[in-house]
Every structure is written in C-alpha cells, then in structure tokens.
C-alpha cells in the first residue's frame, strides 16, 4: 500500500494535532480576531483527519465543513465524527457555490496546493467580507528559499513561499490583509519524527535546509473585498 505523506497511518496513531506545529493554538488565536458566530459556515480546506473541525465544533460551538483530496483521511474523519459535512475535493476546484461561505481556514495546507488557484477558489466561495484564515510555513530568508526546493516532494517544503509572495498572491486575488503574525516559535518544539518517518526526509537535511531558509510559521487573516 502506498500513501502520500500526510495520509501515512503514522499521523493517525496519536493525537491528530501533531500534524501541525503548536497544534490548534494558532488557529484558535486567529479565530479570536474574527467575528464568527455559530450561524456562520466555515470551510476547512484540506481538513485531513478532521481534527480542526472537531475542535471548532466541540470547543468553539462552530459548525465547519471540510474538504480534502484524501479518501483515507476523510474516512478517518467521518469515523471520528459523523456530524460534519465532508467531501472529497481539491482546493483548486471547490464543489461549493459562489459567495456561500463565511470563513475559510487553511491550516498548514496552502503550500501543498497550487496556491494561486486555491486562493482564487476560496475568494469565489467566500461571501463579501468573508474571512480567509491561513497558517503555514514560510521562508524568512527568500534568498535561500531554494534550499527547501531540494527536499522531497509530497511535503510542503518545496513549495514554501516567502511573506512578500504570499501577501501579494492573496491581495491580487481579491482580498485585503487584516493581520499577518509571525509564529515561528511554534516550530521550536515540533517533533520531526512523524514527518521523517512518513516522507523519507533525512532529519539532518531537513534541519540544515530549514535553518538556511530561516523556515518560519505564520498566521494571517484576509477579508474578501
């Protein structure tokens, strides 16, 4: 059986939050800046095993829906919580109507997608003034971003962008940026075991290349114009 990196069963063994640096804290911190209430519809784009959607539902009383390209992860998410609407889809082609969603969460997934197409799709489905909440890796040293491109595909690393590029892509596709916050400290305590186990990345290479590109982590909130 072959798995893509994030479908690898090792991610499902322990608490699902371990897929993201600092677990859910960053998304929860971001949500506090948004005016979202229980009547809002929130899309988790690249929801994986549904851990963020469960937190939204159980701890924030918010009803989310999720899409992910992986049938394996969606079936796991469904087993964990059958009360969430999930569907198999790509971020670049969302099966949702124009202006139908109040907030989109993209947690550590933007650099796995074709970022431009995914941003355009999120813009299409969001209502005017809708929130686009993104957290992901970024390179704080754009001149050394190429060091990440040499890491194996199937992970975020080869497509990690720098701050200027991320902001530009979001702004030229119909958003205004409300908040950009660096959360790079979240990477400090991140265990690399599961990542190196599921992807065959050499952990020494990863640390060397991440240090050269000054790999960091951010969250941003953008509003649809």
């Amino acid at each position: 059986m072959t798995f893509t990196v994030y479908e690898h069963p090792i991610w499902l063994e322990s608490e699902p939050a371990s897929m993201h640096p600092e677990g859910f804290k960053i998304t929860e911190r971001a949500l506090k800046h948004c005016n979202i209430d229980p009547s809002s519809t929130i899309l988790d784009v690249g929801c994986g095993a549904g851990s963020t959607l469960n937190i939204l539902q159980n701890e924030n009383n918010l009803q989310g829906i999720g899409i992910d390209p992986s049938a394996n992860l969606l079936s796991y998410a469904h087993q964990m919580n059958a009360n969430i609407w999930l569907t198999q889809a790509f971020a670049e082609h969302l099966p949702l109507a124009n202006e139908s969603i109040d907030a989109v969460i993209s947690e550590c997934t933007l650099s796995l997608f074709n970022a431009k197409k995914a941003i355009q799709e999120c813009q299409r489905i969001l209502k005017p003034n809708g929130y686009f909440i993104v957290s992901d890796l970024y390179a704080r040293d754009p001149e050394n971003i190429d060091k990440l491109k040499e890491l194996p595909g199937g992970t975020s690393f080869p497509r990690v962008m720098d701050q200027e590029k991320i902001i530009r892509l979001i702004m030229i596709n119909g958003f205004k940026i409300s908040i950009w916050q660096d959360c790079s400290d979240a990477l400090r305590q991140f265990s690399l075991d599961k990542l190196t186990e599921s992807s065959s990345i050499d952990p020494f290479d990863l640390i060397i290349r991440a240090a050269k590109a000054k790999l960091g982590y951010y969250f941003l909130i953008a509003r649809k114009k």
């Binding site: 305590q189 991140f190 050499d202 640390i207």
Partner: protein, 70 residues
C-alpha cells in the same frame, strides 16, 4: 527512519565498559527543541551511542553550523 548504521564498516564495535557488541537501535536526537530519531549503533546495556565519523564530521557538523548562523 533514517538509518546511519553501516554494518559493513561497523560490525566489530564493542562497548568497552560492558564488553558486549554494539547493536543497531533508535537514538533520540534534539536540536533546539526539534527532536527526531535515527538508527545508530549503541550498547544494549549502557546505551552508549557510536556516532560514525562521517556523520559527526558531515551532517551533524553542518547542522550545528547552520543553527549558529540563524
């Protein structure tokens, strides 16, 4: 998991304290809080780890240098 045990080079290593052959096993490594495991030769009794010279002088040295530059 990354395996840094080259048995063709390292099969005859013994632990001088315990007088037993080193065996391949998981070793925890951590740099500035980022932890991971690799396979290295270690003593099954006292857990002394053998870091092969090319790893110590190669990738490990490079990691330390890149973290200093940070």
């Amino acid at each position: 998991m990354s395996d840094y045990v080259d048995l063709s080079k390292e099969k005859n290593w013994m632990c001088a304290n315990c007088n037993v052959p080193l065996v391949s096993g998981k070793v925890d490594i951590s740099y500035l809080g980022n932890s991971f495991q690799v396979n290295l030769l270690k003593c099954p009794i006292c857990n002394l780890v053998l870091v092969p010279e090319d790893l110590a002088l190669g990738k490990m040295a490079e990691v330390e240098k890149s973290l200093e530059d940070k």
